[in-house]
């Protein structure tokens, strides 16, 4: 049975400082296909173009040339407000630095994407509570980010990423700021979401060990894909 393609990138190029002496081509023609329910790692050293690629996958930026279709929506031609809607509906971000909204409790943080998605209040609160229970933060819903540990913050951030049931969860070095133990817990949570809920997860990392846990590892260097291989798909 043919699996649904969630991300379809063809010949993606991205240049900065276009038309100046310092013109810099960061991505030099990237082709990636990600299927629904996959757990994929994108690995690369710093300066490899990994972050730029992530920004384009996350619809925070548009490619200079090439085609990008996300969940059957063409991103290449989208306007600012359309990109906002795409980020809201199709992508769940998990950042290295959590980026929870300060002075706003866990519940409200998880509600935030649904607020921008114009989901009515009652439904929003119910869904947010359910998600916080899923990530094991059900008993800390009213806590402010300042009152949570790093691992707890990241779990709230993961719950927030799933709020609008996005096509992909895009995790950028999600364990980068955590110690190995809590980092392990966060990775286990991703495995759990992948297995139990069939989420499509894209993990951006520079760590080969973490990448090894995913099903497929895409390595980029100098703006090009230099390798693609299968991973264990299991927590180590």
């Amino acid at each position: 049975m043919e699996k649904k393609i969630v991300i379809d990138m063809k010949e993606i190029r991205k240049s900065f400082y276009i038309g100046t002496e310092n013109e810099l081509e960061v991505l030099k023609g990237i082709d990636i296909k990600v299927y629904e329910g996959e757990f994929v790692a994108i690995v690369g050293a710093s300066g490899s173009g990994k972050s730029t690629l992530m920004n384009i996958i996350g619809s925070l930026d548009r490619p200079t040339s090439g085609n990008y279709t996300l969940d059957n929506v063409d991103i290449t031609a989208a306007k600012d407000n359309q990109l906002s809607a795409i980020r809201n509906q199709k992508i769940g971000f998990v950042f290295q630095t959590y980026n929870l909204i300060a002075k706003t409790n866990a519940l409200k943080n998880v509600e935030m994407p649904m607020l921008y998605g114009k989901i009515p209040g009652k439904q929003r609160v119910e869904r947010a509570k359910e998600l916080l229970h899923t990530v094991g933060m059900g008993d800390r819903m009213k806590h402010l980010p300042e009152e949570l540990s790093g691992g707890q913050k990241q779990r709230v951030a993961i719950a927030r990423a799933m709020a609008n049931d996005p096509a992909i969860i895009l995790a950028d070095e999600p364990t980068g700021a955590l110690d190995s133990e809590t980092g392990r817990m966060v990775m286990d949570l991703f495995h759990q979401l992948h297995k139990e809920q069939g989420k499509t997860i894209i993990l951006i990392t520079h760590s080969p060990e973490l990448a090894e846990e995913t099903e497929r590892i895409i390595t980029i260097k100098d703006g090009l894909i230099i390798g693609e291989r299968k991973g264990s798909g299991k927590p180590c």
Binding site: N55, G58, L60, D61, D80, N81, S84, A85, R87, N88, Q89, F93, F95, N99, L100, I101, A102, K103, T104, M112, P113, L115, Y116, G117, K118, P120, G121, R160, N164
Partner: protein, 428 residues
């Protein structure tokens, strides 16, 4: 829905930075408070004055003497504060004479209802054995009672003959009756009392009793028993006592339907003919309504001046709000980036910060209104006028603070909305 969330959010961030919020709002608080305070005071004064004037009769004309200016003719306004030379006081020779008044009454008989004139003898005491009453003793024309809308509890006003002859008959207050005759009005009427005014003794027969009303402007410092009330005798009696025949000032009660302003200038013209040769003094006549008018005019000038100052305070306050909003969005760059990553459109980011700016301004406005009403009420109380904050100015202030919020919040909000999400997320 988003607006409600934004208001909640704005209140949160204000609560988190109380001191900063207060300092930011200060300009707006001061601006709004001074507008409201001055409006409250101005309103109270204007209302009070017009009420008082109306009760005294807006159709009354006050005629008095006014020092002539050396070069120019004296200005018509009785209340103008021109550049006067040395002040002189009018003497017996300058006063209006009975003759003048008589002619005046004959010529304008159609317009005049009564003439109210007063001649003060002085303040003192009536003693009756151990009993006493404090009084101020003055002679008045019959028109005085009409002009001041006074009526008697008991007895009668002066008769024609008593007025003509300057007999020592008196109309006293009920307080005097309480103090001297144990409140027995029957007993008081017809009694003769001795009044000691500046060591001179006057004996009078009581013919009428009026009800004492505490005037709103008066002080109530003295106890009930020590209160000073007026005792009135016929005008001529007082003039005889003071060895004078003229009037320095009197009030004309016009008949209904007479235009008081017009009649005031007629009156002034009439008396001017008598004063052509007088180097120092001339007559001045003004109606109550023109007094009210000039007072209202003065109040609105003061209000305008303070409003301009308040406007400047509000402008400075608005700039303060803009400044703090710019600081706030810089501090919250990452938050803005995160919100954008979560799907906030430029529009919703802009809305968020404009709402925040409006909330700051409106809270500042509300504090200002409360402070203004308190200050205005205190001031009105000190002046013994009832405080009446105007609803219009409160609504205007709220609308104005909201407008400041939008105006000074737009630029920072727009700056936030236009941030690049990638840069914003990377901001340290």
């Amino acid at each position: 829905m988003l607006v409600y969330e934004n208001i909640r959010l704005a209140l949160f961030s204000l609560k988190a930075n109380k001191m900063r919020a207060l300092l930011t709002m200060l300009g707006i608080i001061i601006g709004i408070a001074s507008v409201i305070a001055i409006m409250t005071v101005g309103n109270s004064i204007t209302t009070y004055v017009s009420d008082t004037m109306a009760s005294m009769g807006a159709s009354n004309i006050t005629v008095g003497l006014q020092q002539k200016e050396e070069e120019k003719e004296s200005t018509k306004e009785g209340m103008s504060f021109g550049g006067r030379q040395r002040m002189k006081s009018a003497t017996e020779d300058d006063y209006f004479t009975r003759e003048m008044l008589k002619n005046y009454c004959e010529i304008y008989a159609d317009s005049i209802m009564a003439i109210s004139a007063q001649e003060t003898i002085g303040s003192g005491k009536i003693t009756e054995g151990n009993l006493y009453a404090n009084i101020s003793f003055s002679g008045v024309s019959l028109g005085y009672f009409l002009a001041n809308d006074m009526s008697l509890l008991e007895g009668r006003f002066f008769s024609e003959k008593e007025t003509e002859d300057g007999k020592m008959v008196a109309i006293v207050s009920d307080k005097v009756v309480n103090n001297l005759y144990d409140g027995d009005k029957e007993k008081a009427l017809g009694s003769i009392f001795q009044a000691n005014i500046n060591d001179k003794f006057y004996s009078c027969t009581i013919v009428g009793i009026y009800e004492y009303e505490q005037s709103a402007m008066g002080f109530s410092s003295s106890s009930e028993k020590d209160i000073t009330t007026s005792v009135y005798v016929p005008l001529k009696a007082a003039q005889n006592a003071n060895h004078t025949t003229g009037y320095s000032q009197f009030t004309v009660v016009t008949k209904t339907g007479v235009n008081a302003d017009e009649f005031a200038s007629n009156t002034e013209r009439f008396f001017s003919t008598y004063y052509r040769k007088n180097k120092d003094f001339g007559p001045s006549a003004y109606s109550m309504s023109s007094m009210v008018e000039s007072l209202t005019e003065m109040m609105s000038t003061i209000t305008l001046a303070i409003s301009i100052i308040a406007g400047i305070a509000l402008l400075v306050g608005g700039i303060g709000v803009m400044n703090i909003m710019l600081v706030s969005i810089t501090e919250r760059t990452r938050e803005i980036g995160t919100r954008k990553a979560l799907g906030a459109t430029n529009g919703s980011i802009r809305l968020q910060f404009i709402v925040e700016s409006i909330v700051i301004c409106i809270i500042g406005g509300i504090i200002g209104i409360i402070l203004g009403i308190i200050m205005g009420s205190v001031a009105a109380n000190l002046m013994d006028t009832p405080a009446s904050p105007s609803v219009g100015s409160i609504i205007l202030s709220l609308t104005f603070s909201m407008a400041i919020g939008v105006f000074f919040g737009y630029h920072p909000a727009n700056k936030a909305a236009k941030m690049d999400p990638i840069e914003a997320l990377r901001y340290e």
